[in-house]
Symmetry: C2
DNA sequence: AATATATACATAATTATCTTAGGCATAAAG
DNA sequence: CTTTATGCCTAAGATAATTATGTATATATT
């Protein structure tokens, strides 16, 4: 995904957040949307994305609708009710993570 | 470590940052300092910490000095020159990560 | 005296998430 | 005709944690 190891563990959060804004999305669209929003900073690889989607579906956070578009099939994912709640949790966790890490990296913390 | 999976991948960054402020620290002191600075939010487990320290040492980012204190031995770690440079890199990566994630979670991004 | 807590190190088995590298298939563009 | 874009997928391996131990000393509690 990213150039640093910090992105490990963030993919589910990203997916749930996108789907809380977007109603329904398919895998490839997710990769493109992330690339666009992050100005190319973050490229989600398919080897990470599809297993993550399948896992979220298996956990009941996402549901699938397969649609045929121009001789290709697309698997649209959308949040279930549980998934909708979990997306709120995950976003809170991300904000908490950022706050906690900022406590640790705030410069000269042991001088003040 | 944390209550969320987001902390995965952050431990090396935390260790290097602490040692860029502190000159030298031993493992147990690192766990206590992190607990203190994060107001108990983040508790580094020993099973994560010691392997991480050993790895950073093996990579040449940390060097060790064993000191006997009150019949116990402590292993003090400090940054090598390489480790000092790498701590700057890791902090930059963390800031980049936070910025990128904020692009993704900024509310209503696809409305504006 | 016995037990729990704090200090201080360590490793081993397991789990989770990702990377890397492939595979399958259609359509458009060079 | 070969690359690029679209669109899905999985399998092997790497990496970083968790969880559960183990060792040892010192202090505080029951």
């Amino acid at each position: 995904m990213g150039n640093s190891k910090l992105y490990k563990g963030s993919l589910a959060t990203i997916i749930l957040k996108l789907l809380s804004e977007q109603e329904k999305m398919y895998g490839y669209a997710i990769t493109q949307k992330v690339k666009l929003l992050t100005q190319g900073e973050l490229n989600i690889t398919e080897g990470a994305l599809y297993p993550a989607l399948h896992k979220l579906e298996a956990e009941g956070l996402l549901e699938v609708e397969v649609v045929k578009v121009e001789n290709r099939f697309r698997k649209y994912y959308k949040l279930t009710e549980t998934g909708s709640k979990e997306s709120v949790n995950k976003l809170q966790e991300l904000e908490d993570y950022i706050k906690t890490m900022q406590l640790l990296i705030s410069p000269n913390f042991n001088i003040e």
